[in-house]
C-alpha cells in the first residue's frame, strides 16, 4: 500500500504540491491523471524517493521511502525521460541490475527479451524511442518489483506492444499483488486498466475514487420533454447542462436512482442515462469545456 499524507513541496517560491493525499491499495492499479504542470511528475519523484518533501510523508506499507534502500529494492520505476548508461546494451544494463536488485528474475528477463524481440547486445542509445521504452520495461519488470511506478509509459508504442506490456503488468498484479501507479494522458487506456483514479490539479488531489464508483456516481442524461417548461431540477447536482434543439444534455453527479426518480417526476418523453467515459468525467470535473484541458486529451 502506498500512502502519501499532506505532502507539500515548493520550488523557488512556486508551490508545486500542497497538502497532497494519495492512497493506493496493495495489488491495485492506480491511475494518476492531471493536466501538464499539475504536479504529477513532482509527486512521482517523491514516490521514488528522489525528492525530499518539504512537509508530509510518503510511505510504502508504513515505511518511509526516502533513503530507504531496502524498500527501493522492491520498487520499479520507468520515467518518461529514460536513462541508460551511455553506450550500454540491454545485456550490460541487465548485468548491472542483476547485481543490485535481489529479486532479479533471469528467466523472466530472457523470456521477455525473446518475446519483445529486442537485440540484447546493441547499444540502447541506438534504439528508437519505442524500443527504448520496451527495453526499460523489460529491465524493470525483471527485477520483480512489488511496487511499479510508470510515468507516461506507453506513448509511442504500437497497440500490439501495448497489449503485451499491460498483460505483464496485469499478471504480476494478479499473481503477486504488485501495486501499480500509472501516470498517463491516455485516459481511454487507463480506463481499461486502472481500478482507481486520482485526479491532480495544481498540486492538490481533486478526486480520488475507485473507478467504478466514480462512474456510477456520474451520469450523462439525454432527456426530452413534451412541453417546454422551466425545470430547475434543484435536487440534482448538475455539472453541465446543454440544450440541443429539443433535447437537453445533462451531466449530473448523483446516484443513478435519485437521478431517475427526479427526472421521471417531470414526465419525460425521452430519458436516456448513459455512463461517462473517463475522458468525459475528467473534462466535466475539471470545469467544463476548458480549452486547456481539452487539448491534453487525445
Amino acid at each position: 500500500m502506498i500512502q502519501v499524507t499532506e505532502l507539500s513541496k515548493c520550488f523557488d517560491g512556486f508551490s508545486a504540491l500542497s497538502g497532497l493525499n494519495v492512497h493506493v491499495e496493495t495489488g491495485s492499479i492506480y491511475g494518476l491523471i492531471g493536466v501538464n504542470g499539475s504536479g504529477k511528475t513532482t509527486l512521482i519523484k517523491h514516490l521514488t524517493g528522489v525528492y525530499m518533501p518539504d512537509a508530509g510523508q510518503v510511505t510504502f506499507d508504513g515505511e518511509d521511502i526516502y533513503e530507504n534502500t531496502v524498500l527501493k529494492e522492491r520498487l520499479g520505476y520507468i520515467p518518461d525521460d529514460l536513462y541508460f548508461f551511455n553506450s550500454y546494451s540491454i545485456r550490460d544494463m541487465a548485468s548491472f541490475y542483476r547485481k543490485i536488485y535481489p529479486a532479479w528474475n533471469e528467466q523472466r528477463y530472457r523470456d521477455m527479451l525473446r518475446e519483445f524481440g529486442l537485440p540484447a547486445v546493441r547499444k540502447i542509445s541506438k534504439f528508437s524511442k519505442g524500443m527504448q521504452k520496451q527495453a526499460a520495461f523489460i529491465l524493470v519488470m525483471s527485477t520483480m518489483p512489488d511496487y511499479l511506478i510508470l510515468d507516461e509509459p506507453i506513448d509511442g508504442l504500437d497497440p500490439l506492444i501495448r497489449k503485451r506490456v499491460w498483460r505483464y503488468v496485469v499478471s504480476d498484479v494478479a499473481e503477486r499483488q504488485m501495486t501499480v501507479l500509472v501516470s498517463s494522458h491516455n485516459l481511454r487506456e487507463m480506463e481499461g486498466i486502472c481500478d482507481s483514479i486520482g485526479i491532480l490539479s495544481e498540486g492538490r488531489m481533486m478526486i480520488e475514487r475507485d473507478l467504478e464508483e466514480l462512474k456510477t456516481d456520474i451520469h450523462k442524461i439525454q432527456v426530452a420533454f413534451k412541453e417546454e417548461k422551466e425545470r430547475p431540477l434543484s435536487n440534482l447536482n448538475i455539472l453541465h447542462r446543454e440544450k440541443r434543439g429539443s433535447v437537453e444534455l445533462l451531466i449530473v453527479r448523483n446516484a443513478g436512482n435519485l437521478v431517475k426518480s427526479e427526472l421521471e417526476k417531470e414526465d419525460p418523453a425521452i430519458l436516456d442515462m448513459l455512463p461517462l467515459s473517463l475522458e468525459e468525467i475528467f473534462i466535466y470535473e475539471m470545469g467544463g469545456e476548458n480549452s486547456e484541458i481539452q487539448s491534453i486529451l487525445f
Binding site: 496485469v170 494478479a174 481499461g192 455512463p275
Partner: protein
Amino acid sequence: MFQLDVKSRKSIYEQIVDNCKELIIAGVLAPNDKLPSVRELSAMLTVNPNTIQKAYRELEQSGWIYTVSGLGCFVSESRHAPDPLQIRALLDKIEPLVRELLFLGVPAESIRQALDKMIRKGGGSR
C-alpha cells in the same frame, strides 16, 4: 473465452458479468464447470484483476457462481430466487427497445410473438 468491447459504454466490469451470465444461460458453461481463475482471465483479456475479482464477486452474490477456496470459481447448480432489483433493471432495459418498435409501427402482437420465440429459445416455459 469472450471478447471485450472497449468502445462500449458498458464498463468492463459490467461486460464481464454480463458475458459470464450469457455463457451460463446459453449452456456453454454448465453447472459445476470451473471458470477461469482471476489470473488467467486478467491475462487473457488484459484487464485489471481487481475488476475481474469484483465481477466474480457480483456473480457469486447474485448466485450465478460459487467459490471453493483454493480451487476457484464454479458455475452454480441451480438458480436462487431472483433478485427483484435485478429483474427490474433488466426489464428497464427492454422498455426503450419495445417503445422503439412501437414507434416504428410494429404491431403489438408481432412483438409478443417475437418475445415468445425468445422465451422458448432460452429454455423457459410459457
